[in-house]
């Protein structure tokens, strides 16, 4: 039986980050991955979706090129090439991670890892080859999988999940997206730009329930102008197939139908603990999720869990940090996961990003809320970019000046949230952001001006 210091089960962001961090600290580490190194994020999540998003962006800019004085004729989108580029990016990055693991000296085993007991993992590899490994510490990083939608018709041909939508044979004429979370909305936006008629069906009163309601309102306005149909308070009851797929949903006590060549089910993700048998190690669970504390420890002191599998935040960047915290905990170093300041980006057009509380959440939490807001159209660089829709919004506590949350919808939102995230992490106040010189002409000026408008008045709008 193999012996090692640390076994990591799962090679996604949580798993590979943990393994690399462990090796940086000199821990002997073995990583078990049943499918593809890089996990959901690199192979079927963050990376491929954003690669498609980038092609969409280039297409969109090409169509507007004349506005900037560039003369060209757009012939269309070569979808095969879009997908091939996406695959190339994925391959390059997963190759990169494999290289990092190798360089770090992590032993990688192909196979499915299952608990035999608190200290022993069995790996079933290709051709059913079995191997048992004993480890001082075990990190569970088995991630998540798409949630099942319990309605009739989900097995019909053309009903797909977020894995399959990445490799469609062509750009569909019509697409129905079930679930208006960020995974559904990102694909809806990409395909909408590429010419697909998209309908989104969301059960809740709003799409993107985690986003600030003002942001969602503007996004919906923009998307509807671009021809997307968004149905909220709408409950899917079944899918059937004629020539096209028919999705029946109930809205305002009426039954309606949305038609598509494909139906994308994007109704969330659940922790992946199938075939892991955590109960054999006596690990406490909450339904499918592995319960962890702020040191990323499970109920068994030598076993840790990081990433989607603990069911907290299903985000790759949270997985990275949890992995780091887990390794520090294993090393006996004081390490605590801090969930107060978690940024979030949604790649629609325009981009959306946020950190901390929404305005509604802040009010509901009993804060005396003071909001500063600044539109991109009042910033020179946004005008120059030709991207004037959107705003930056900062929510502060009137009493202490603390920044409670920040929300951006507009060009380069995913870059700009960096500053506001650091501001929250450092417990900065809007005044300090406003007093800091921001370069002109740049999009960072919206952050400064929004900050200035919380307690003072912005320069370029008042």
């Amino acid at each position: 039986m193999k012996q090692t210091d640390l076994v990591v089960i799962g090679g996604g962001p949580a798993g590979y980050a943990a393994a690399i961090r462990a090796r940086q600290k000199g821990i002997n580490t073995l990583l078990i991955e049943s499918r593809d190194i890089g996990g959901t994020c690199l192979n079927r999540g963050c990376i491929p979706t954003k690669a498609l998003f980038r092609s969409q962006e280039i297409f969109h800019l090409s169509e507007r090129a004349a506005e900037f004085g560039v003369q060209l004729k757009v012939d269309g989108v070569d979808w095969t090439r879009v997908v091939a580029r996406k695959n190339k990016v994925v391959k390059q990055l997963t190759g990169g991670v494999r290289f990092l693991l190798k360089k770090a000296g992590v032993e990688v085993i192909d196979g499915i890892g299952s608990f035999l007991d608190k200290q022993t993992i069995e790996v079933i590899g290709k051709e059913k080859k079995k191997e048992t490994i004993q480890a001082k510490h075990i990190l569970i990083a088995t991630g998540s999988k798409s949630a099942h939608l319990p309605v009739p018709g989900v097995d019909l041909d053309g009903v797909i999940d977020s894995d399959e939508v990445l490799d469609l044979p062509s750009i569909p004429e019509k697409l129905v997206v079930i679930g208006g979370g960020y995974i559904g909305m990102e694909m809806a936006c990409i395909l909408n730009t590429f010419g697909t008629q998209v309908e989104v069906i969301e059960m809740l009163p709003n799409i993107l329930p985690i986003a600030d309601s003002e942001v969602v309102k503007l996004l919906v306005e923009i998307l509807e102008k671009k021809g997307m149909k968004i149905h909220t308070n709408a409950k899917v009851v079944g899918i059937s197939k004629d020539k096209k797929l028919q999705v029946s949903y109930e809205q305002n006590s009426e039954t309606k139908v949305a038609e598509g060549d494909y139906v994308l089910i994007a109704t969330g993700r659940v922790p992946m603990t199938d075939r892991l048998y955590p109960e054999k190690a006596g690990i406490k669970m909450d339904q499918k999720a592995i319960t962890t504390d702020l040191q990323m420890k499970t109920s068994v002191p030598s076993i840790f869990a990081a990433g989607d599998v603990n069911g907290k935040y299903l985000l790759a960047h949270v997985a990275f940090k949890e992995a780091e915290v887990a390794i520090n905990s294993i090393m006996g170093k004081e390490a605590t996961m801090n969930y107060r300041v978690i940024p979030n980006c949604i790649f629609c057009s325009p981009e959306i990003s946020s950190v901390g509380l929404t305005e509604d959440e802040a009010i509901a939490s009993g804060f005396d809320v003071k909001v500063g807001k600044f539109p991109f159209r009042a910033v020179g660089k946004a005008l120059i970019e030709g991207e004037t829709e959107g705003f930056t919004k900062i929510i502060a506590d009137q009493k202490t000046g603390e920044i409670l949350g920040a929300h951006i919808i507009g060009p380069h939102a995913s870059d700009l949230i960096g500053e506001l995230t650091l501001a929250m992490a450092l417990e900065s106040t809007p005044e300090e952001i406003a007093h800091t010189i921001h370069p002109h002409p740049t999009l960072t000026e919206t952050v400064m001006e929004a900050a200035d408008s919380v307690f003072g008045s912005s320069l370029h709008l008042f």
Binding site: G401, L426, E427, T429, E431, E432, H435
Partner: protein
């Protein structure tokens, strides 16, 4: 207990110099303790400490 507002750099320097942040007055924005405050306090401590020596 009131939370002390200090810049990360100030905290780190206070630690290094063995200074108690609660005894230092912040002159940064909103009364935040900044590097300069720590440097000043350290200069003071250096001039005061020798007299205390046995």
């Amino acid at each position: 207990k009131e939370r002390i507002k200090a810049s990360p750099l100030a905290r780190r320097l206070a630690d290094e110099y063995g200074l108690d942040l609660s005894k230092i007055e912040g002159t940064g924005p909103g009364g935040r303790i900044v590097k300069e405050d720590i440097e000043n306090a350290y200069q003071q401590k250096k001039t005061v400490t020798p007299q205390k020596a046995e």
